[in-house]
Structure formats: structure tokens, C-alpha cells
Amino acid sequence: MSNTDEKLVRMANQIASFFKTQPGDKATASTAQHIKDFWDPSMIAQMRNLLANDVEGLDPIAHAAAKEVTAA
């Protein structure tokens, strides 16, 4: 995994770790929305690639959110 891949995973995890603490069951949806709002398409493409290669280290919420964002 390249340095920037690691960073992307870390960023997704950090976002998820905030939304996990919020009330309700919107953690995945909110994480996905945050990524959509702030990440540029090339970062999303890179994440898609990581998912395709069974990237390790993604938190389950971050993983679900990443899947949702990259599915589009």
C-alpha cells in the first residue's frame, strides 16, 4: 500500500470515528455524505481501487461508507 493509500484509509477511518459517536443510526450514511462533500473524484477513484483490492485497515463503518460512495 502506498503512502497516499494509507492516508486515504486513515482519513476515512477518522471521519467514521466521528460519525460513530453521533446519535441515531446514520453513521454510515453521514460518513459517506462527508466523503462525497469533501473528496475530489480522483480520491474516490483511488478508494474504489483500494476496495477492489480488498484493502486492509478500514474500520467497518468507513468500509461500508466507502462502498456506498464508490458504488455510484
Binding site: T4, M11, F18, F38, D40, S42
Partner: protein, 966 residues
């Protein structure tokens, strides 16, 4: 400069007349008669000021309208019918029906006598005096008709030798301060300087020593000259001095100025208004403008004195290009440079795609310039790869306040602090970072407001002379959220929250959910103590003081935002303000202290990759429509790259060209190695700046920038105030920055036709709702205005969220503390945090090129005595500072301002390269870098590290400029 005798209202911004005493804020009006004229003024006004309102100027020496009346010179005496004697008009308040005579024979005689005494102890060298023509003593001698001095003092203070003997009363001139001189021979001991230092600046550096004829002004007992005293060189005493005793050295050298232009300081986010005083196009001095609403006639050493960089010989005045960064620079014409650049950028796009280039806007440039840069990127480059250095400082403010309140700006104006009863200052060091605001805050602290400082360091504000109660919560760096949660825990569990406010202004169910969360025992100060290092009892007291203390205001700085939980901390601050009902009126609020002069403006103007001007997301069709119609292009609906992502993409080979206006990302952004690698991987780096900055070492094109003295435009300060910047002199480099951007955009096919920045403001107003009613004409008339300024708020908005939050109901957010990934361990046991000092600014490119270096010529590492002793480090030793990222070396200074386990440094000097040390961890929401926490080790060292040596070598290589071709 003579004053005019015309009646004025107190907010007439075209008039700088000294009214003698401060304006009264009373709403009750009083009518009296002065020399037969009836005049109506607010109760509490002095007779002197009332006369001035009536157009009658009473002679005065010790009074000036920036200071409380003192009543020592007795020149301003008047007669009042029905009262005995001759009261001083400056210290006598008006009363209903009062009948005042300012000019009777008796009074004339007294005044002449007073002046005679003064002049008998004053040298008569007016013709060669620096204050000639700008001296109140001279004016008053004229005003009272003094023609001869009957008695010669047996003793005086101004002759070096008297009767052939050394005069023991003579004190030689003190030239130690680089910017102003103190010549005691000319002092009339009116104590205006002493009072200015106390009342206006709040430093108390000056005192009057001795009494009667022997009283002298002194820079404190502990030192003998100005430079080594407590003086911070704000210049308030110099402005207040009626004689040549305290005078700017520039005036001594260049003569009294003949014209002036009102403009705005380009240093910090306070945004002080200044009068640039000139002879021809040479700046003689900058004096704080009394009608400036941010600074109210005050200034700090940077804005007042540190403008010399504008004419420094290091400034690059012609464009330069090179094919690769190992070559020396080649000076070329603008035409050639722009042609070279535009072709290169278009080539890159042809090869690597439309999104392979981008740009960075500047928080130092004007709103108009920033707007144009993002417009060029979006409309001409055709992508959203725009970002700004605000990313590295206040992006969490934007995110956090937008989420909680609905708009991402500070809620107050600076005047609001006058009504604050208890203030929290967290992660900010106002006396150094925002000095004029600090002076205004200190004034309030002296009046008894309570202070709570949450900071790893014992900042100077805590040592405000004559302040009321102060609390210091010295937390471990990185635990802001934990501390704020503990404070909220105390407030909620002790029932100190403002239920009425919450029910009315917020969602009660949401609050209840929050209250349940925060009441959990794990947030109690006792439970948090181990983590934060803050004494639980001290925290409880501070929390109670804030909740119960009346108007509570919170001011914060980069110590809040530059953390992995920066956005969460901002939301925790908003929670705290809402639960205590401290929003929507004077004296309260959430106040981000912005670092650079136009950080607020850079954010407002759409510098971020996901937001068009006015904080509207690029995916919003309606907003894109507005700009697409006006600009005649199709805009990308997806966010672009942020600075760290641009650098990542560069390293990965997909991002190849960048236009950087007025920023030095190599020095200011975290993890210098990574920034350098990113820049080195690009094919075209364009730097537009005043000097060959550090980033320029990696640039292929250098476009010369212009200073704030050389352009028209606007800056928006931390209180959302749009201030005019005015061209004082023509750009030495030929063009203002907005013109250079326009040259490049047009070379890439833009067809822009702006001829003046006012047209750019018109475009901003036409497209951005918060700016809808802003025009240059309006700013001309009012001086400044705070956005939003539109049909709903035609006079602008000094205080936000008055009747309700912008988003409707204020939102409480759950703020769980999550520790940063940056941890101390056996190899790196200390925590480094960074900050700034008063005399230097940001990466120091400007201030290092002024005499301000006498106060700070290198970055120092502050370390606690205990940590120093464990490592065998002595004060002044060269030490190695190492983190997981890299290492650098600098000198240590030993102090208990920092707690054991914490070290602190500034980042003003490129030699230090503090950011070689910092990590690339960042805020979860905005990627604002985590500057404020780095695990480090400190050890003895012999000198610069290898990196510093390599770096200096590369820099020297890269800065070579070929001699211009004949």
C-alpha cells in the same frame, strides 16, 4: 498639522480633530451654554468636549480624546457661573443649564502664566525640531498669545551644561528602540504617554518618577532604556505625546508628512485601520486611525512600524522563469513570463488532463484578488483544484460553526468585548497574535472581567497588570475536547445551563440527548484529570465562573483548530456558548481569532475546493447556475483537491502544475519533506510573491507580487468587517496582484476586462448574497461594514444570531474525545506545540525584513527546567529537536511557562524549519494539519542538522539569478 474648528458629530469619519476627552456613551442629553452658544451633549461629557462640539477649542496639553482626562496642566481652565475658581474643563462634566466662559481676562492671564512656565523649561529650537508644525506645545504657545518668557528657570532639564557645569537634570536621548526616540529634554511631563501605555496598550511600561519639578518619564526601574524595558513598541505613547519627546525615527529622518491615505494593516486578523502618512510616495509613518472600528485608534508594532519590507532590497521586481529548478533564474518581461506559463499549463492539461493543475489563493491578498484566483481556477483551468492557507489554520472553524450555528463566521464585533464579564481564551495568545484585540480585552480585564485561559502555556494575558480574577487550565496538548467536555459536564450536572435560552433557541430533545451524553461520569473533571493534566477542582471553578459570570465570551485561535479533533473542538465551543445562553447579544459569542489579515476573506471568497464564494457547495445547481451564467462556462460539480491532496497527487504523478499566490507552503505547511517532494514532482510551479520565499526554491516561474501599500481592494477581518485597502503608492513591480492574475487568465483565454478592483467587488456583490449591498461607494462613506450586508441587513451585521440562528435552531453536537494518533512514547516522550510572538508574523517573510528582528532574531525552544535538567540542557544551548518525521536544531530557553513534558517553539525563521518536525496528521473533517501536537525528543547538539545544511545548500543553489542580459 493644525486642527480645524468646525462642529462635528462624533462619528464623522472625515474628521480627526482631537475632542480633548473621550465621548460619553450616555443616552441622556444635557444642554448648556458655552460663550453664549447653546450646546446639547450626552451626560458625562466634559466641558472641554462640549466646547469642542460647539466649535470652541479650549487650549489643552495633558488632555487628548483617546485618554481619560487627567487635569494636570491647568491650561484648559474655564469659568463657570455660580462656581468658584477656575475649574479645568477637561475634568469637569457638563450639567444642565451650566453657563461656561472659556475666554475671560482672568483665564487668559492664567493660561499665559502656565505656558510661560512650560516654555521656561523647554529648549527653543523649534525650527530644527522634528515636531515643528506638528507640536501641541507650539500650537498652545500660539493660542494663548505667549510672546515672551519673563523668568528664566534657575534649573532646567534641557541644557547639557549649565553655567559651565554638567547639568545633573539633563537626561540624554534614548535611541535604543529602532522605531522611535525618547528625548527627555523636550518632555513637559503631561503623562499622556504613561496613560496611553496603561489605558490604550495595557502594558504599564512607563511611569513618572520623582515629583514636582523633578518628575520624569521613565521606562521602568528594572532597566535603563526603552528597548530593554517591558515596552512592546506599540507606538501608543508616541501618538499621544504632544511634543517631540517621543517621536517616530522616520519623522526625524524624513520630515513631517504632507498627505495621508486611510488603509488597513496587512498583518493580522484584527484588521487595524491606519493613516498612511506620506511625502510624495514615500511613507513617513503609519498611525492608527481613530475612526477604525476594529482598532479604535490603537495599533501594534507590526502595523505601526514594520512596513519597511515593502521597500526592502530583497524584493523581486521583475518576473523570472527557468525550465528546471536546478537552473538559475532568468529575468524576463511580463509578456514572456506569462506566455511561458500559460503554454506550460495548457501543455500539462493536454497531457495529464484538465484536473492536473490547480492553485492556492492567499490570505494576505485582497478579497478581490482571491476571488479572481479561484475564478481563474474554476473558469479558466476548468476544475475545482483551489485551496488556501486557511486550510492550515481555520478550516475547522468553517465546518464546526456551520454545523452548529448555520454559518461559519465569528459571531461578534471587537467592540463587544467592552460588555464581556467573563472570557474564555482557548488555544490563542492574543498579546502576541492579535495584539490590538488583546489591549482591548485587557482594558476589560482591568475593569474586573474574569479570565479563563485554556492553554498548555502560561500566556502573557494571564499576567495582565491590574486584572481581576484569572484561571489557568494548563492542559496537555491534544486534549481540548476532553477539557471542554469536562467544563460542559460541570455546567450540565450542576444545573448551571440556561434552560430558557436552550428551549427557545435550540432543539430541546437534541439538548437532552447531549445532556445525557455529557453527564456521564467519564466526562467529569475528576475522570479527565489523568488525561488532561488539569486539576479537577480548578476546572470546576472555571466552569462555574463561566456559567454564572454574566456575559460570557469565548475567543479561540489555532490552538483549537490545528488538531486532529479541530472541528470537534469548535463544535464543543459552540455547545458551551449555547448551553450558557451566550449567543446573540453584545459581550458574548464565539470568536475565532484569525491568523492572517484576510483569512476570513479568503474563506468567504470561495477559496476552498468544495465551495463557491459565500460557502455554497459546488454540487448546488442553483449556485453554479449563477456563476455559469455570468462567467459563460460550465463548472465542475464535484469538489477539487485540497492542498495536502494536491501534494499527494503530485507525488503519485497525477498533479503537475500549481499557481501559488502569496503563500509559502513549504514553510507554512506541515511535514516539510512531504511538501518538498510534492513540489519537486511537479512540472510547473508558479510562485507569486514579494520575495523569493522558500516555496520558490521549487518554482519554475516567479511572478513579482505587490504589497498592500500598492493596491486597492478590501480585507475582511476576524469580525467579518470589510475594510478598504487603498493604493498609497504605485506598485514597484509594475502591477497589483489582481492584474498579474488577470494577465495569466487572459493568456489562457479568459477575456477579462477589469480596470479597477471595485468592479470585482461589484461582481462579488452580484453573486454572493452576504455581500449583496457592498460597494466601494458605501465603504467610502462608512469606512467599513460587517457582512452579511444585504437587503435584510442594510447596515451590515455587527452581531450574528440575534433573533435566531442562521440555521434555525442551534444544534448541539455530541463531542466524544478521541485521542490523536500522535502519541508520546519512550523514543519521543515530549509533546511539542507551536505558536507565534508579537514582533514576527507568520513565516516571517515580511517582519524578518524589518527592524523587528531586534526583538526576535531566531526561533527558540521553550523547555521546562525539569526536562532540561534531565537532559543536561542549559539556557541558550543548541539542542536537537527530533520527531518521527524529522529533526532540526535550535536554541533552548528554559522556562516554567510550559509544563513538564511540553516544549514550545515559534515558526518564524526558515532556518529552524519547525515543520520538518510536524506530522501530517490532520483534522478529521477538514484535513487542517495537526500543528499543535507532535511527539518529540530533545537532546544536546552541536549545531545545525544535516537536513538544515542540505536545505540551505539547495536553497542557495535555487535562488541564483542570472545577471540580466544586456
Amino acid at each position: 498639522m493644525k486642527d480645524f474648528i468646525i462642529p462635528t458629530s462624533m462619528d464623522d469619519i472625515t474628521n480627526d480633530r482631537d475632542m480633548g476627552t473621550p465621548a460619553s456613551k450616555s443616552l441622556e442629553m444635557v444642554t448648556l451654554t458655552i460663550d453664549g452658544f447653546e450646546v446639547t451633549v450626552p451626560a458625562g461629557t466634559s466641558v472641554m468636549r462640549a466646547s469642542n462640539e460647539a466649535g470652541i477649542e479650549v487650549p489643552k496639553l495633558c488632555a487628548t480624546d483617546s485618554l481619560e482626562a487627567f487635569g494636570s496642566c491647568r491650561l484648559c481652565v474655564v469659568e463657570i457661573e455660580g462656581r468658584r475658581g477656575t475649574p479645568a474643563s477637561c475634568t469637569t462634566p457638563v450639567a444642565e443649564g451650566m453657563v461656561v466662559n472659556t475666554h475671560t481676562d482672568k483665564i487668559k492671564k492664567i493660561r499665559k502664566g502656565v505656558m510661560e512656565l512650560y516654555i521656561s523649561d523647554h529648549p527653543l529650537d523649534c525650527l530644527t525640531c522634528a515636531a515643528n508644525g506638528d507640536c501641541e506645545l507650539q500650537d498652545m504657545a500660539g493660542a494663548v498669545g505667549l510672546r515672551d518668557v519673563r523668568y528664566e528657570g534657575t534649573e532646567n532639564h534641557f541644557e547639557v551644561r549649565q553655567n559651565g557645569e554638567v547639568n545633573p537634570k539633563y537626561i540624554p536621548k534614548d535611541d535604543s528602540n529602532p522605531y522611535f526616540a525618547y528625548d527627555p529634554a523636550k518632555c513637559i511631563v503631561c503623562s499622556r504617554c504613561v496613560r496611553a501605555c496603561e489605558e490604550t496598550q495595557g502594558t504599564f511600561a512607563l511611569t513618572i518618577e520623582g515629583s514636582g519639578f523633578n518628575s520624569r518619564v521613565s521606562f521602568g526601574a528594572k532597566s535603563d532604556d526603552a528597548l530593554h524595558s517591558d515596552c512592546v513598541s506599540c507606538g501608543a505613547c508616541v501618538a499621544a505625546c504632544p511634543t517631540a519627546t517621543l517621536t517616530e525615527k522616520s519623522v526625524i529622518e524624513l520630515g513631517t508628512p504632507e498627505r495621508s491615505v486611510i488603509t488597513t494593516c496587512a498583518y493580522c486578523g484584527v484588521g487595524c485601520s491606519f493613516k498612511a502618512e506620506l511625502n510624495g510616495d514615500e511613507v513617513v509613518r503609519m498611525t492608527p486611525w481613530k475612526h477604525g472600528k476594529a482598532n479604535r485608534g490603537h495599533s501594534c508594532v507590526k502595523g505601526r512600524f514594520a512596513y519597511g519590507y515593502a521597500s526592502h532590497s530583497d524584493r523581486i521586481l521583475s518576473p523570472m522563469i527557468r525550465d528546471s529548478i536546478d537552473q538559475p533564474w532568468r529575468e524576463v518581461s511580463y509578456e514572456e513570463a506569462i506566455d511561458f506559463t500559460s503554454k506550460k499549463l495548457r501543455d500539462i492539461q493536454a497531457k495529464h488532463g484538465q484536473k492536473s493543475i490547480g492553485g492556492i489563493t492567499s490570505s494576505r491578498c485582497t478579497n478581490e484578488e482571491t476571488y479572481l484566483v479561484q475564478k481563474m481556477i474554476r473558469a479558466v483551468f476548468g476544475n475545482n483544484n483551489t485551496d488556501t492557507c486557511a486550510r492550515v489554520c481555520h478550516s475547522p472553524t468553517g465546518y464546526g460553526l456551520k454545523t452548529t450555528f448555520g454559518t461559519s463566521a465569528g459571531t461578534q464585533d471587537f467592540d463587544s468585548v467592552e460588555d464581556t464579564d467573563v472570557v474564555i481564551v482557548i488555544g490563542a495568545n492574543p498579546t502576541d497574535g492579535h495584539p490590538v484585540f488583546a489591549s482591548r480585552l485587557r482594558k476589560r480585564l482591568r475593569q474586573g472581567a474574569e479570565l479563563i485561559v485554556i492553554d498548555p502555556r502560561r500566556i502573557d494575558l494571564l499576567e495582565t497588570p491590574h486584572m481581576g480574577k484569572g484561571h489557568h487550565l494548563p492542559l496537555r496538548p491534544g486534549t481540548n475536547v476532553a477539557i471542554l467536555s469536562a467544563i460542559s459536564h460541570v455546567i450540565v450536572t450542576e444545573g448551571l445551563h440556561d434552560e430558557a435560552f436552550i428551549r427557545e433557541r435550540c432543539d430541546w430533545d437534541e439538548f437532552s440527548e447531549y445532556a445525557a451524553f455529557i453527564s456521564d461520569e467519564r466526562h467529569s473533571p475528576e475522570a479527565m484529570q489523568l488525561l488532561t493534566g488539569v486539576d479537577a477542582q480548578a476546572l470546576r471553578e472555571a466552569a462555574r465562573a463561566f456559567a454564572r459570570g454574566g456575559n460570557g465570551a469565548i475567543y479561540y485561535g489555532l490552538g483549537v483548530t490545528e488538531h486532529s479533533q479541530g472541528s470537534t473542538t469548535v463544535m464543543a465551543i459552540a455547545n458551551l456558548a449555547m448551553m450558557t445562553g451566550n449567543i446573540g447579544r453584545r459581550g458574548v459569542g464565539v470568536n475565532p481569532l484569525r491568523g492572517q489579515n484576510n483569512v476570513q476573506g479568503a474563506c468567504d471568497m470561495g477559496s476552498f475546493p468544495h465551495e463557491l464564494p459565500g460557502y455554497r457547495h459546488v454540487s448546488d445547481d442553483a449556485t453554479r447556475d449563477i456563476f455559469e451564467d455570468l462567467w459563460g462556462v460550465t463548472l465542475d460539480a464535484e469538489p477539487g483537491l485540497r492542498i495536502p491532496n494536491m501534494l499527494d497527487a503530485a507525488v503519485d504523478g497525477t498533479f503537475k502544475g500549481i499557481y501559488i499566490q502569496g503563500e509559502d507552503i513549504l514553510q507554512s505547511d506541515p511535514d516539510t519533506h512531504h511538501v518538498a517532494a510534492g513540489l519537486a514532482a511537479m512540472d510547473c510551479v508558479i510562485v507569486q510573491d514579494l520575495f523569493l520565499n522558500e516555496t520558490a526554491n521549487y518554482a519554475h516561474v516567479f511572478l513579482p507580487g505587490s504589497t498592500f501599500l500598492e493596491k486597492d481592494g478590501t480585507f475582511t477581518n476576524a469580525e467579518r468587517r470589510i475594510n478598504r485597502v487603498r493604493e498609497v503608492m504605485k506598485p514597484k513591480n509594475g502591477y497589483a496582484d489582481w492584474q498579474v492574475t488577470m494577465l495569466l487568465a487572459n493568456a489562457m483565454g479568459a477575456n477579462w476586462t477589469y480596470t479597477h478592483p471595485s468592479q470585482i467587488m461589484d461582481e462579488i456583490a452580484a453573486t454572493t448574497p452576504g455581500f449583496a449591498n457592498v460597494t466601494y461607494e458605501m465603504l467610502e462613506e462608512r469606512g467599513s461594514v460587517q457582512w452579511p450586508c444585504n437587503d435584510n441587513a442594510p447596515d451590515g451585521t455587527p452581531i450574528m444570531h440575534i433573533d435566531g440562528f442562521v440555521r434555525g435552531k442551534g444544534q448541539f453536537i455530541i463531542t466524544e474525545y478521541i485521542a490523536t494518533d500522535e502519541r508520546t512514547g519512550p523514543r519521543f516522550p515530549l509533546l511539542l506545540t507551536t505558536g507565534r510572538i508579537l514582533s514576527q508574523y507568520n513565516v516571517g517573510a515580511q517582519t524578518r525584513r524589518t527592524d523587528n528582528v531586534v526583538w526576535h532574531d531566531e526561533d527558540l525552544l521553550e523547555i521546562h527546567p525539569q526536562d532540561a535538567e534531565n537532559r543536561g540542557i542549559k539556557d541558550g544551548d543548541f539542542v536537537k529537536l527530533a520527531s518521527r518525521q524529522g529533526e532540526t536544531s535550535l536554541r533552548a530557553t528554559i522556562t516554567d511557562r510550559v509544563s513538564p513534558g511540553v516544549v514550545y517553539t515559534t515558526f518564524h525563521h526558515p532556518d529552524t524549519q519547525a515543520n520538518v518536525i510536524t506530522t501530517d496528521f490532520s483534522d478529521w473533517a477538514t484535513n487542517c494539519p495537526e500543528y499543535k501536537v507532535t511527539a518529540v525528543q530533545v537532546s544536546q547538539s552541536n549545531g545545525p542538522t544535516d537536513w538544515q545544511k542540505d536545505y540551505n545548500e539547495q536553497a542557495a543553489q535555487s535562488r541564483r539569478i542570472l545577471p540580466a542580459a544586456e
